[in-house]
């Protein structure tokens, strides 16, 4: 008996792809119908459809993606130490400045990034003032490179220079490392392009007091499991990109006993704890490298169509895909963020999307877990229903669900993980990123927060490149 005969007599359960009139008529007859939110694949572009078809139903791709997902989900990022960028970042030199996003030249850099570069050159003693710094930056003597190409990530401008202390995340499952500076707090800070006396003083303090204190405590702790902290934080209303209140609190709880045990001078202890406590986003510089460690381990798997990097330099948005190994970037123009402005600022003031923090979304947290972080909704505009909707839509473009990070508002469904370039193009659904807005002038700071999506062309270019590799 064929499956046609099995259909006869069964309850007819229909998926309707196309006009809703048919759905309405079926429902009137009591049939169960699910309407598809259909739109032309790849926006109807025949070239992309051809590439999609080439990449469809290939066991090599399915196997590669399964491997990538397994790595991402099972990565165990642990904060193991703090070191100096020059000592721990492979390939780092005294004259290297790392920045957020895909490659960008000094001439094309966005305002906040230029400011941060100037600040870093002064901080490093390579220039004594702004004029010298600008001259040096344009002289060709400085190597500019993306953090991502050095196993590192940085929020906003994302500037990392040789003397800066970096938190060292060790992926215990796969053995690789990821690095990120310590979060400087809000207001006038280097990552928003500020480089005045106060900023440089704070950076120096981070280097000389905060980092050594935390290093001692981390050593005593034997390592702090960031995966576990993220898992708890997402049950406490964080999505670990734009909201890190719970994560930061959990971090303080984890580190405080060891800070005390480390036998630090009383006033150091006070300053350290007060600093972390005053900065809701301290944990961001831990969730980001944790995500980076997991995704780096999954990069470079031949045939995989899983996205391993999404980042922005304020001018361009760039992605990397596992199946295009090394530093193969697919870029498009950085978009403007849609959301709420802080009082006194308008959209005119905002810089296009900037920072490596979209690594959180690449990892399945951040905007992808927004439905579990209702408090952030007020901050970026919209309703809780919208936030849940965003989270749900992300399952359409991802490959797996990461049960380590579950969404309480979706009945503890695992985070949508493993963005598949093919699915993004097929559906036209772009990843949702929940992010802060930088002022376009250096040093002003954050001017708002909201939602943004990558430019579709990053994914289109990646798809075509992947299809080309299958030939």
């Amino acid at each position: 008996m064929s499956r046609i005969n099995e259909l006869f007599g069964k309850k007819l359960t229909v998926i309707n792809v196309g006009t809703e009139n048919f759905k309405n008529e079926l429902e009137a007859q009591g049939a169960e119908v699910l309407q598809l939110d259909w739109r032309p694949p790849a926006g109807g572009n025949p070239l992309l459809i051809k590439a999609l078809d080439r990449l469809a139903d290939d066991e090599r791709i399915e196997a590669a993606n399964a491997k990538a997902i397994d790595i991402i989900v099972n990565a165990r990022p642990v904060l193991e130490d703090i070191g100096t960028a020059l000592d721990v970042l492979p390939g780092m030199t005294r004259h290297t400045i790392l920045h957020a996003g895909p490659p960008v030249t000094w001439e094309r850099m966005a305002g906040p990034m230029r400011g941060a570069v100037i600040g870093a050159l002064i901080y490093e003693g390579l220039a004594k003032d702004e004029r010298e710094a600008v001259e040096l930056a344009g002289s060709g003597k400085i190597t500019f490179a993306p953090c991502h190409e050095y196993n590192a990530v940085g929020p906003m401008a994302g500037i990392v220079s040789a003397s800066m202390p970096v938190q060292i995340i060790h992926n215990l499952t796969h053995g690789n490392y990821a690095y990120c500076t310590l979060n400087e707090g809000l207001g006038k800070v280097l990552r928003y392009g500020a480089y005045n006396e106060e900023v440089l003083k704070r950076l120096k303090w981070i280097e000389t007091e905060l980092a050594p204190a935390l290093k001692a405590a981390i050593k005593l702790s034997g390592g702090i499991d960031i995966r576990s902290l993220i898992a708890q934080a997402v049950h406490m209303g964080d999505e670990c990109h734009n909201r890190n209140k719970a994560g930061t609190s959990l971090f303080i709880r984890a580190i405080a006993p060891f800070l005390v045990k480390a036998g630090l001078p009383q006033d150091t202890l006070v300053r350290v704890l007060e600093f972390i406590n005053s900065n809701d986003h301290f944990f961001l510089n831990l969730s980001m490298p944790a995500a980076k460690a997991a995704l780096d381990a999954a990069h470079g798997i031949e045939y995989s169509t899983i996205v391993t990097t999404m980042c922005r330099n304020g001018v361009e948005f760039g992605i990397r895909v596992s199946g295009c190994p090394g530093n193969t970037w697919f870029t498009g123009p950085a978009q403007m963020i849609q959301g709420l402005m802080f009082p006194g600022f308008t959209m005119e003031d905002a810089n296009p999307d900037i920072g490596d923090s979209a690594i959180t979304e690449t990892y399945g947290i951040g905007g992808f877990l927004m439905g579990g972080a209702p408090a952030i909704v007020q901050f970026v505009g919209g309703t809780v229903d919208d936030a849940i909707g965003y989270s749900q839509k992300m399952y359409e473009i991802t490959t797996a669900e990461n049960s380590n990070y579950s969404n309480p508002n979706l009945n503890f469904r695992g985070a949508a993980t493993g963005i598949d370039v093919r699915k993004v193009i097929q559906t036209g659904i772009l990843p949702i990123i929940n992010t802060g807005m930088a002022h376009k002038e250096p040093g002003v700071g954050q001017v708002g927060a909201g939602l943004v999506r990558p430019p579709q062309e990053c994914f289109e270019k990646a798809l075509l490149a992947l299809a080309e590799r299958m030939k």
Partner: protein, 514 residues
């Protein structure tokens, strides 16, 4: 004239929604042209023709929405655009309440609804084959309403479905009833023991409706799409359907409905029918009857004859007789003929249902000779201009010439009305023949919407001292949402002569003018 053009990037809407909104906007007083459409190559061409293709629109892709209005003033343009935007907002609001998540791909839909067993696909033809293949790969049976699918894709889909044991109905399949649920364009008919496999939408509707009328009922009604019985496809779906119905315990009699198939395919199908353990009634519309391949295979002369024989067979009878009382029809024709003025000699058929048009035209042609039509196969009978009738003329208003960018007349039967009035003005016209298609998918009140034009048509003729005979056939049942009886009463009150089947309507019309 003021022009306003709004572009909404990446805002896809299906063509039915767009056509209905376009229609509403265009109907606003003061609006000269209104196009609410996706920026496909075809729609861009349309915009170019009416001088509204701007460079911005030209740069758009087929997932971008364009609202373009040309009107007497800026204010009317703005009001029209607002109206369109409100219509979209309303649709979005409805969607939101219906369910929180609306999946975007078949893969995720199947996860959401694990019991799903059938996909209905009505997206534009260029994308339809991809979706259908995905549905089949997910193990779903498919009903593909979309047309404009290549024959190569159709073959690929059907071969895949056949190997997987799945049903691949379509492309261009508009009618099926599975497990007593009518799909797309279907009628509410009694459940029973007659299974149908149909390669023609309205032909299949007619057979199922008449089975109901004759006191029978259907077990399953499967569609194949219009090209299944061509040489290239080889009847894959009809053969699979036939085998399934032959194995189905609830089915006692099988009916096969198709326009004349390719010879080799007809032979293959008849050979399989000959092996069936159940009676099979074969209705190859307007084809000469081949030799019976086996005892239990019967040929039907018309759709009505197929329904009638199937009901008789289901009751265990093989002594058929005829359902149609031709003597009574002749008497009725004579009484109508007596009312005609001397110059009135032609029939004009205005049809929404393609196969019904075909069948009626064939019947009339047998009696009166040449009949002109937009769907005629013989070149000499093909109408040069489908908008102008000539002697005996039959128009299929569902043909491409009338439907490009517009809803099918079964959904929007008002599109027939201007033609009805045009025919009424022609003093040579004796009879206007119409089908009124009801059932799921069809317009909610086709008789009601046609009524004012019928009254006007009769008035026009009467003013010139003529009697205009309007014959209508309501294809549907009293269980359909529109209710056949109510539809017939409305028409009868306006002096329309009602027929009990499409074939009888045609016999009557032919008898009046011959």
């Amino acid at each position: 004239m003021a022009i306003q053009i709004i572009i909404k990037k990446n805002a896809y809407h299906d063509s039915v929604t767009l056509m209905s909104i376009s229609g509403k906007v265009a109907a606003l007083s003061g609006v000269a042209d209104a196009v609410v459409a996706m920026a496909t190559a075809m729609n861009k061409e349309l915009l170019r023709n009416i001088g509204m293709l701007t460079p911005a629109v030209e740069a758009c892709g087929s997932s971008d929405l364009v609202i373009a209005v040309k009107a007497e003033s800026e204010e009317i343009c703005a009001a029209a655009v607002k109206m369109a935007e409100e219509a979209f907002a309303q649709k979005a609001a409805v969607k939101k309440n219906a369910g929180e998540t609306v999946p975007s791909t078949l893969q995720s839909a199947v996860k959401e609804l694990p019991g799903a067993n059938l996909a209905i696909i009505s997206v534009p033809g260029e994308y339809a084959a991809r979706e259908a293949m995905q549905a089949l790969k997910q193990g779903l049976h498919v009903m593909m309403f979309s047309d404009n699918v290549t024959i190569e894709d159709e073959k690929k889909l059907k071969e895949y479905a056949h190997a997987a044991g799945l049903l691949m109905m379509g492309p261009d399949c508009g009618t099926a009833i599975i497990n007593n649920v009518g799909l797309c364009f279907a009628n509410a008919v009694n459940q029973g023991t007659i299974g149908i496999v149909g390669a023609s939408g309205t032909g299949t509707q007619e057979v199922s409706v008449l089975i109901d009328r004759f006191g029978g009922g259907v077990s399953q009604v499967l569609g194949t799409g219009g090209r299944d019985l061509t040489e290239a496809i080889g009847g894959i779906t009809m053969l699979d359907g036939l085998a399934a119905l032959n194995a189905d315990e609830a089915t006692k009699v099988i009916v096969l409905v198709s326009k004349p198939p390719a010879k080799s395919v007809a032979e293959k199908i008849l050979a399989e029918a000959g092996k069936c353990i159940k009676p099979v009634v074969v209705c190859f519309i307007n084809a000469s009857q081949p030799d019976r391949p086996a005892e239990q295979v019967y040929f039907a002369a018309s759709l009505e004859d197929a329904a009638y024989k199937a009901v008789k067979l289901a009751q265990g009878q093989t002594d058929f007789g005829s359902a149609c009382d031709h003597a009574a029809l002749k008497a009725m024709a004579a009484s109508r003929k007596a009312k005609l003025a001397p110059g009135q000699k032609y029939v004009r058929g205005l049809f929404c249902g393609g196969t019904l048009c075909d069948e009626a035209m064939y019947i009339v042609k047998e009696k009166v000779g040449t009949v002109y039509s937009n769907i005629a196969k013989q070149p000499e009978a093909k109408l040069g201009d489908p908008h102008t009738s000539k002697e005996h003329t039959f128009i299929d208003l569902g043909d491409d010439a009338f439907t490009v960018g517009k809803p099918h007349p079964m959904i929007e039967p008002s599109r027939r009305l201007p033609r009805l009035l045009q025919e009424a003005k022609d003093p040579a016209v004796a009879v206007i023949l119409m089908d009124i298609m009801i059932g799921y998918g069809s317009h909610s009140d086709p008789a009601g919407i046609t009524l004012p034009a019928i009254i006007e048509a009769k008035r026009i003729a009467e003013q010139s001292g003529r009697h205009l005979e309007i014959i209508a056939y309501v294809c549907g049942t009293d269980k359909d949402p529109q209710n056949r009886l109510e539809q017939e009463q409305k028409l009868a009150a306006a002096g329309v002569t009602l027929a009990k089947s499409n074939a009888r309507a045609a016999y009557l019309a032919a008898a009046i003018v011959s």
